[in-house]
């Protein structure tokens, strides 16, 4: 599969995530859009790793070139899981204080 299709798909998913962060005001939906962006990047990393591996496997059949990309994806998933647990705790805390998850209410630092 041409790598450009994967780049187009991943950038489309990433831009949908960005639009979601900019447009929606619900903190939980914003958080889910961040997950969407992380997943777009993961997909692109895996596609690039397979592209690199395909190029290296032509000269050496037993090479493990490109395995780093998939491990990066693994670590991104680890960090995302930790991030979600802390972020949702922050959102719960925010709901407890202002009784809403609307990010428009978080403008107290402005003045």
């Amino acid at each position: 599969m041409p790598i450009q299709y994967y780049i187009a798909l991943a950038s489309c998913l990433f831009c949908i995530g960005i639009v979601g962060v900019l447009v929606r005001r619900n903190a939980i939906i914003i958080f889910m859009c961040i997950e969407l962006m992380l997943n777009a990047v993961n997909l692109l990393l895996v596609a690039f790793s397979k592209m690199y591996h395909g190029g290296a496997a032509l000269s050496n059949a037993t090479t493990t070139a490109g395995v780093d990309g998939q491990l990066f994806v693994f670590f991104i998933m680890v960090v995302a899981a930790a991030e979600v647990s802390v972020g949702l705790a922050v959102i719960v805390m925010m709901y407890r204080n202002v009784h809403s998850v609307d990010v428009n209410f978080l403008n107290r630092l402005k003045n």
Binding site: I16, A80, S85, V92
Partner: protein
């Protein structure tokens, strides 16, 4: 068009539809369910690229753990019938336009880059996505980041408990 191409386009269409529906749904629970659809489609892409370990981990960690956490939070806060406060159409239009412009720039850059033309991602073959290969590299070359991530998890757990504590 072979079966692989067909699956690629099908999974891409499912992923994009799900991603758009995440934004378009008014109900946060529906957004979570559509996001799970997106994760399944991305796992399908991983299977297609023969990254089987990541496909399974993606399903278990994202669709299994993280999305259940989201659902729990939404249910606990009783946000099922949430009201979007004032709808500012200008802000929405500005967000959509700026995201679309970013997308156009990315696409045009990729289309004109000489490095990416005629490069292909290997589908269905190659053994680097199997757990044997990944495990060998993870526990030799990447063992230090792996151990550091355990400290990260511990601190995230402590942080979540401390932040979420009622006092």
């Amino acid at each position: 068009m072979g079966i692989l191409q067909f699956l690629f386009w099908l999974l891409s269409a499912v992923a994009l539809t799900g991603a758009i529906m995440v934004l378009a749904s008014k109900n946060p629970v529906h957004s979570v369910l559509w996001l799970i659809v997106v994760f399944f489609a991305i796992s399908g892409h991983y299977v297609l690229l023969n990254a089987q370990f990541l496909a399974v981990v993606n399903l278990i960690v994202y669709a299994g753990a993280i999305m259940v956490l989201f659902l729990f939070v939404i249910m606990l806060m009783n946000l099922n019938t949430v009201i979007e406060t004032r709808k500012n159409l200008w802000m929405k239009a500005a967000g959509i336009i700026s995201g679309g412009i970013l997308f156009l720039i990315m696409i045009s850059v990729v289309r004109s880059s000489a490095d990416m033309v005629s490069r292909t991602a290997q589908l269905k073959e190659g053994s680097i996505g199997l757990i044997e290969t990944l495990g060998k590299v993870l526990f030799t070359q990447y063992v230090v980041p792996f151990e550091i991530s355990s400290v990260l998890f511990l601190s995230a757990m402590v942080g979540a408990v401390v932040i979420g504590k009622k006092d």
